[in-house]
C-alpha cells in the first residue's frame, strides 16, 4: 500500500504572490475587497474572508473600498472604470497572465486574427479577450478550429491549458493559414504540474486530484489523470469515501496550483486513515514526503 504525492503540485508562484499581496494589503485596511474570487479555491477564499478580505462579484458592490484585482486579472474596461471611480487598486494579477494580455494586445495591433486556446467563460479568458479590439476565436481544443482560411493568425493560450491541445490547435491551423504566430503562454507551473500528474497517474491504481471545482488548472489535471486511471476531483477531505480505496494498491495524490498546503495535508491524512481502516497496514504519516522541497 502506498500513497504518493505528485512531485509538483499545489500553489504556484502567481497564487502565492496573490495571497501574499492580499494579506499584506489587509493588514493596513479594515475594509478591503477582491473583485471576484482572488484564486479559484473556495477554502482559501473563505480563509481570506476571515482576515477581513471580502469577495464581491461586481464593481457596483465595491462602494469605494480598496480593491484587489484577482490572480486571473480583470477586463480592461473594468480596470479603467475602477481608475475613473478613484478606487484604490491592489493588483494581484499573476504576472504571467498580465504578460499574456500584453501579447494579445500586441498581436492584435499588428493585425493578426487572434485565436485563444481557453475556456470562453473563464475570467482569465474574459479579461484576455478585452485586450483585443477585433473579434476573437476561442477554442478549447483543435476541434473548435473552423474551416476558414486566414491570412495572418496569432495564437495565444490561457495560462493553464494543456500544451498538447496547443500543439493540435496550431497543427490544425497550418494548412489554412498563410502565417501563424504562436506565443506559448501556457505557464511553466501548469506544464510541470501536468507532467507530474501524468507520471503519477500512469503508476497509480487510483488518483485523487485536489482543488477548486472552479479551478481551470485543477480540472485539467483531473482530465489528464482520467485518461489513465480512475480519478476523483475533490475540494476537501470530507468528500473522500472509504470504499474508493478497496483493493487499491497505489494511490496518487495531486493538487492544482490554487490548492493550499493545509488542504492537501488534510486530504493526505484522510486517505492514509481510510486505507488504514481497510487494510490495517499503513501508519498515519504526518509529514508529506518529497513535497515541500520540490516546489
Amino acid at each position: 500500500m502506498n500513497v504518493k504525492i505528485a512531485k509538483n503540485s499545489g500553489f504556484c508562484f502567481g497564487v502565492k504572490r496573490a495571497i501574499k499581496i492580499a494579506l499584506e494589503a489587509a493588514k493596513g485596511n479594515h475594509e478591503i475587497v477582491t473583485l471576484g474570487p482572488i484564486i479559484h479555491n473556495p477554502q482559501m477564499v473563505k480563509k481570506l474572508e476571515d482576515e477581513g478580505i471580502k469577495n464581491v462579484d461586481d464593481v457596483s458592490a465595491i462602494n469605494g473600498r480598496p480593491t484587489i484585482i484577482r490572480s486571473h486579472g480583470v477586463k480592461r474596461e473594468t480596470l479603467l472604470q475602477l481608475k475613473k471611480d478613484g478606487v484604490e487598486i491592489i493588483n494581484a494579477t499573476c504576472p504571467y497572465v498580465s504578460k499574456t494580455q500584453e501579447y494579445a494586445q500586441e498581436l492584435s495591433e499588428e493585425g493578426y486574427k487572434i485565436i485563444i486556446l481557453g475556456d470562453k467563460n473563464h475570467p482569465e479568458v474574459q479579461a484576455l479577450k478585452s485586450y483585443i479590439k477585433e473579434e476573437v476565436v476561442i477554442v478549447t481544443n483543435a476541434n473548435g478550429i473552423d474551416n476558414k482560411n486566414y491570412q495572418r493568425v496569432g495564437v495565444i493560450s490561457q495560462t493553464t491549458r494543456n500544451v498538447k491541445d496547443l500543439q493540435e490547435v496550431v497543427q490544425a491551423l497550418v494548412p489554412r493559414c498563410h502565417e501563424i504566430r504562436v506565443i506559448n503562454t501556457i505557464c511553466n507551473a501548469t506544464t510541470i504540474r501536468q507532467e507530474s500528474t501524468l507520471k503519477l497517474a500512469k503508476e497509480s491504481d487510483l488518483m485523487i486530484v485536489v482543488g477548486g471545482k472552479n479551478s481551470s488548472n485543477t480540472k485539467m489535471l483531473a482530465k489528464i489523470s482520467e485518461n489513465f486511471v480512475k480519478t476523483y476531483h475533490i475540494e476537501i477531505e470530507c468528500e473522500i469515501e472509504e470504499k474508493w480505496f478497496k483493493d487499491k494498491e497505489n494511490i496518487g495524490l495531486t493538487a492544482g496550483a490554487s490548492t493550499p498546503d493545509w488542504v492537501i495535508v488534510g486530504v493526505y491524512n484522510k486517505i492514509i486513515k481510510c486505507m488504514g481502516d481497510i487494510n490495517s497496514k499503513i501508519e498515519r504519516i504526518k509529514d508529506i514526503p518529497e513535497f515541500e522541497e520540490e516546489r
Copy 2:
C-alpha cells in the same frame, strides 16, 4: 481497365513562366546560358539546349554570356557576383520562391532563429539559406527537430514540401519555443498536386509518377503515392515495363510540376499500349481526358 490522370498534374505557373522567359530570351540571343538546370526535368532541359540555351553549372563557365536564373533561384552571393561581373541577368526565379527568400530574410532580420523544412542539398534551399545571416536549422521532417529550447523561431518551407510535414515540424516545436512564427511557403500548386495524387493513389492498383528524378516535388508525389499503392517514379515512357500492368485494373498517372505535357502524353500512350497488349481490351486513346482544362 482504366487509366486515370490526376486532375492536377504537370507544369505549374512558375515552371511555365521560367520556360517562357527562357525561350523569349533565346530569340534575341545566339549565346545564352542557364546557371544550373532551369527546371528539374532533364527532357525539357535537353529541348531548351536544342533552342540554343545551354546549361552551365558554375559561374566560371558563363564567360560573359547572358544568364538565366533558374526557377529555384540562386544564392544571394552568386547574384551579387553576376551583377559585379556585369553579366546580363534574365531572372526566371519562380515568384513564390523569391517571396520565400524575402520572408526568410525578414524573419532573420527580426531576430528569429530560422528553421527550414526542406532538402539541404536542393538548390532552392541552398539559395534560401543564403538570405539568412545566422546559422539555420534545415530538416526534412519533424524527426530533425532537436531537443533544444528556442526563444523565437521562424519556420519556412521549401515551396515543394508536404504540408503534413510542416504541421508535424511546427507541432514538435510548440512545447520548446516561447514564440513560433510560421510562414506557410508551400506553394498552392504543390499542395493541389499532392492532394490530386493522394486521391488518385487511393483508388488505383498501380501509380505511375512522371518527372525528373532530381525533381523535389515529383519525388514528393511518389512518396505520397507509395503509402497507398505500388508506385513507379519514371522520367520517360521507355522506362515502362509491360509486366507492371499484369492483373492491374486501375492505373493512376500523375506528373510533377516540371514535367512537360509531351512527356506525360508519351507515358500515357505507352501505358495504354502496354495494357492493350496484355488485355486486348483497351483502345489506344490519343487525347488526355479532363487534363488540360483542369489546370
